[in-house]
């Protein structure tokens, strides 16, 4: 049907705009193996880099002998710290204001640390040569426990910081202490605790884990000696920031660096940081004049690039005897490993841990976080979370359960009476955030009704009777969680990384025939930006999503932006997209008015066209307007139809959700079965329901892994105990539960389209939900807290410790 005669509904459906479960445009390439990931890049004369890594967690490096390695056929170079030192590149700045060794400079601080970089003609020759590098080590005492690291006689890890009693985030009080970060009112909180009817206290540990996307980190650095231009392809979640960082540390002018993030095989935070492999590849390419590829293997990925969590959260929560919460106190000991390379906005050394008052109206609160060095891998990243929100959500959702036990109350009811009410938004939290919007009670009721909460509790009670009567060996646990996220970092006034404000951007060009290209400062790693951002634009400018190309990841063409992590793409770049679209629309309105020979104010936008007010038969479609922009000399208007927007969000967005899990637990074997998992998410305006649902399935599966078995573990010698997929739990299709998704819609009042972001909510919400289910099953036997991950052995151990094995 011709677009001149279609009904408005048909025209809107044609756009495949917001709200449409549009099929993904990326998938045509990906399903036939035509994606282009970094390891697929092959350049003429390309060399391969590979690392010699430390087998020790703490040792002095006495000598590095590369002579035998250099004899391996195909080896071109072996770089050590000595080679990098003259360039000042043996250390690099971290995102957290610390510095980190690129290659071991006199000592190593964690197992797997990079010691030398072999460059060879193919990956086999490089691997052979790695074996031939002889490194002499002198072992030093190891400390992997952050509490022991702070003891007076603990080994000195960072000799380079000796005597430096001020770090990037204020005073240091011990040689292994990094910072103390305090939020809220300490005295007032302690006074509330002292005078409270009830105080529940617990140590809640959120163990160390790892984002481990299926594609590991890697890059190809190609220095063109003729033009002086460096092209750096890599698995970068923030390509523009990487360009700036490379320029700052290498001294190459920023315009001579082109960073390209090709297709990325999942990121989940792992690909935010700057790693030694990138620096060494760049140096090797400059030295050899050839392109150099470095792609880490899985073991290197799990041992050296990033980690997540590792927070010891000591909490106290005060309430009246009716259960009204009056105060929250939290002291966190944060294990940052050998270098402080955590990826957080500069002013937030513990990320947004101060969202730990959660969904609750808690009038008084205090939080302190101490960062500590240990002999573990550096690089704390937000594993599918917005800067420590996962830790905060886990903490408060455990504390609520612990308080419910203390009060002898139902945990669903305790949550209900403490939720921030709808009429309290925008809500000022005791720890400094302004929650933009929410309707927690509605979501909660919907969730409880959906699962038949009361009936479940009855069934659980009956099962308990049967268990006690010896009729069954299985218990039921009901896990509850109501989480509030804080995403979309963030307002430039308080959010920056390395001084770069955390705005984001979109540039749109409308072509003469009425199709378009949009370029953004973000980068998809599976979220489907090419699909969903086109939908936002389609609704904003009335051009079908199918006629809009979305491009990201090439710093030579895309506008500057801070990248994709912390669920910031939709809240920030999505807003930039809408705003740039509105600029296009504003110009289109003038063109339409001129074409229709009426005043600008006499036309209005209608789905895909401007119509003369009161005369709907007189209109110009966006397609016609686009052509006119290039073909007519319109008085007072420049030709063309383009716009760019750099969006500085006025506030964060606060997605929330209500999750409920029903779990069967075999007391004798520790085996669990997730019988039901219900996830209600409120991410504000929904752009593509299919993509949202996919994000929830994926995030909840990561949460399932973390809660039920996934961990990065070290022994006392600092040996990494989970560096292969044999030991590091990633659930298969066999173990993974089936999810039931649901939603409410509370649009963000300050976001141009009301969207809040959803990618990380399911990880944030599902971990406490699974964990609470395990705890809940054993609540009648006196369990208050047992640390994750709840693998089979640990669940068996809970039962055993509680005397349930007879």
């Amino acid at each position: 049907m011709n677009d001149q005669v279609m009904s408005p509904e048909q025209r809107a459906a044609n756009l495949k705009g917001m709200g449409c479960a549009r099929k993904r445009v990326e998938d045509v390439r990906f399903t036939q193996g035509k994606g282009r990931y970094v390891d697929d890049i092959k350049l003429d004369g390309m060399l391969f880099g590979d690392f010699v890594r430390s087998p020790y967690a703490h040792a002095r490096v006495v000598s590095v002998d590369t002579s035998e390695a250099m004899k391996v056929p195909g080896v071109v170079a072996v770089l050590t710290a000595q080679d990098l030192a003259p360039l000042g590149l043996h250390w690099m700045p971290t995102l957290a204001g610390d510095r980190q060794m690129v290659l071991a400079d006199g000592k190593v601080l964690f197992q797997g640390q990079e010691v030398a970089f072999v460059v060879a003609s193919d990956r086999y020759a490089a691997a052979d040569a790695v074996e031939k590098v002889v490194v002499e080590y002198e072992e030093l005492p190891v400390v992997v426990d952050p509490f022991k690291a702070l003891e007076p006689d603990a080994p000195v890890l960072r000799e380079d910081l000796e005597g430096k009693m001020t770090g990037a985030h204020g005073p240091r009080r011990h040689h292994n202490h990094i910072f103390t970060w305090e939020q809220g009112d300490k005295d007032a909180t302690e006074a509330v605790l002292a005078g409270a009817d009830v105080v529940a206290e617990e140590m809640v540990y959120y163990h160390r884990t790892h984002p481990s996307p299926l594609e590991t980190c890697g890059c190809v650095a190609a220095m063109d000696k003729v033009t002086g231009k460096l092209t750096l392809y890599g698995t970068f979640q923030a390509p523009h920031a990487i360009r700036t960082v490379v320029s700052l540390i290498s001294g190459l002018a920023e315009h001579n660096i082109r960073v390209i993030s090709p297709d990325i095989g999942g990121g989940f935070g792992n690909k935010v940081g700057a790693y030694s492999g990138y620096v060494c590849s760049v140096v090797a390419s400059i030295v050899t004049g050839k392109p150099v590829k470095w792609v880490e293997d899985r073991m290197e990925n799990l041992m050296s690039t990033a980690f997540a969590r590792d927070y010891w959260m000591h909490g106290k929560i005060a309430a009246t005897k009716e259960g009204k919460i009056t105060g929250l106190w939290c002291h966190t000991t944060a294990d940052h490993g050998g270098f402080d390379a955590c990826a957080d906005p500069t002013k937030f050394p513990a990320g947004f841990m101060n969202i730990c008052t959660g969904s609750y109206d808690i009038p008084t609160a205090y939080l302190a976080v101490d960062g500590v060095y240990t002999n573990k891998a550096p690089g704390g990243v937000a594993y599918r979370c917005s800067f420590r929100v996962t830790e905060a959500a886990y903490f408060i959702e455990r504390m609520i359960e612990v308080l419910a036990i203390k009060l002898g109350m139902d945990a669903a009811e305790l949550r209900r009476i403490n939720f921030i009410r709808k009429d309290q938004f925008p809500y000022q939290s005791a720890l400094g955030w302004e929650y933009d919007s929410g309707d927690y009670h509605t979501a909660w009721e919907k969730a409880l009704n959906a699962v038949g909460y009361d009936a479940l509790r009855k069934e659980q009670a009956q099962r308990l009777e049967d268990f006690k009567a010896g009729k069954t060996r299985k218990l039921i646990g009901i896990g509850l969680t109501h989480f509030t996220e804080i995403v979309g970092a963030g307002p430039v006034k308080n959010c920056d990384i390395l001084g770069l404000g955390m705005f984001d951007s979109c540039e749109i060009r409308i072509h003469p025939t009425g199709s378009a290209i949009a370029r953004l400062g973000t980068i998809s790693q599976g979220q489907g930006h090419a699909t969903t951002f086109a939908q936002i634009l389609a609704s904003e400018i009335g051009i079908p999503a199918d006629n809009i190309t979305v491009e990201e990841g090439d710093t030579d063409t895309a506008p500057y932006g801070l990248g994709t992590y912390g669920s910031r793409s939709t809240p920030v770049a999505g807003a930039a997209t809408a705003m740039a679209g509105r600029k296009i629309r504003a110009k289109a309105q003038m063109i339409a008015a001129w074409l229709l020979e009426v005043h600008d104010d006499d036309v209005e936008f209608d789905v895909d066209r401007f119509v003369v007010k009161g005369a709907p038969e007189r209109f110009k479609t966006m397609k016609e307007i686009a052509f006119a922009a290039y073909n007519q000399a319109i008085p007072g208007l420049e030709p063309g139809l383009e716009a760019v927007s750099y969006y500085d969000p006025p506030n964060m967005t606060y997605p929330f959700g209500a999750y409920i899990c029903v779990m069967e637990i075999d007391v004798d074997t520790g085996v669990h079965e997730v019988r039901q998992f219900y996830a209600l998410d409120d991410c504000g305006t929904r752009i593509n329901p299919m993509v949202i649902e996919g994000q929830i399935h994926g995030g909840a599966t990561e949460g399932y892994a973390i809660a039920m078995g996934q961990e990065i573990a070290y022994d006392d010698m600092g040996n990494h105990k989970s560096a292969t997929l044999m030991d590091f739990f990633i659930p298969t299709s066999w173990e993974t539960p089936t999810y039931q998704t649901d939603f409410t819609v509370t649009p963000s009042p300050h976001h141009p389209i009301g969207a809040k972001g959803v990618g990380e909510s399911p990880n944030v919400g599902s971990v406490p939900c699974f964990s609470n289910a395990v705890h809940d099953a054993f609540r009648p036997f006196g369990l208050t807290q047992s640390h994750m991950p709840h693998d089979q052995w640990r669940i068996w151990k809970i039962a055993n410790d509680l005397g349930l094995h007879g």
């Binding site: 099929k23 993904r24 990326e26 998938d27 045509v28 390439r29 990906f30 399903t31 036939q32 193996g33 035509k34 994606g35 282009r36 990931y37 390891d39 697929d40 092959k42 056929p73 195909g74 990956r123 086999y124 020759a125 481990s212 996307p213 299926l214 594609e215 590991t216 297709d263 990325i264 095989g265 999942g266 792609v295 293997d297 899985r298 790693q525 599976g526 979220q527 489907g528 299919m690 993509v691 649902e693 996919g694 994000q695 929830i696 399935h697 994926g698 995030g699 909840a700 599966t701 990561e702 292969t724 997929l725 044999m726 990633i730 298969t732 299709s733 066999w734 993974t736 089936t738 999810y739």
Partner: protein, 165 residues
Amino acid sequence: MANKMHVKLTLNGQQVEGLAEPRTLLIHFLRENLNVTGPHIGCETSHCGACTVDMNGKSVKSCTVFVAQANGAEVTTVEGLVNPDGSLGVIQEMFREHHGLQCGFCTPGMITRAHRLLQENPRPTEEEVRFGMAGNLCRCTGYQNIVKAILASADMLNAQKEAAE
């Protein structure tokens, strides 16, 4: 450099050959010598399944096969599962239809494994799909839509077969 051997394969129906050290892993031979980059590398320790290809009628993890073992074999990769006219094959189309992929990194291995699974068992139950696909890890999707896509593929392939009979 170590001695290289002459390797011949039937890859996606075509005769191909190349020189490689016998220790070269099949995945590296495919990706680097033959430029077939559909199969990916997620672990090199046979845990993740990203490198899954079909070899002589069986799913194999090509990171665990030496090219010497694959000499003379018939190998199919995800690239070989498109229709002769270049359009997406049924399983590929169903993965797209049911949002069975996100970053796409596991997808070639998943689809190649699903292709073999549905030959082994043309009418699988959900449970059989979940069990039969357990050698392939996905970090993005939570598998729910992958399972849906494979069940839908089974229906469609069976319907096509019936129509042809």
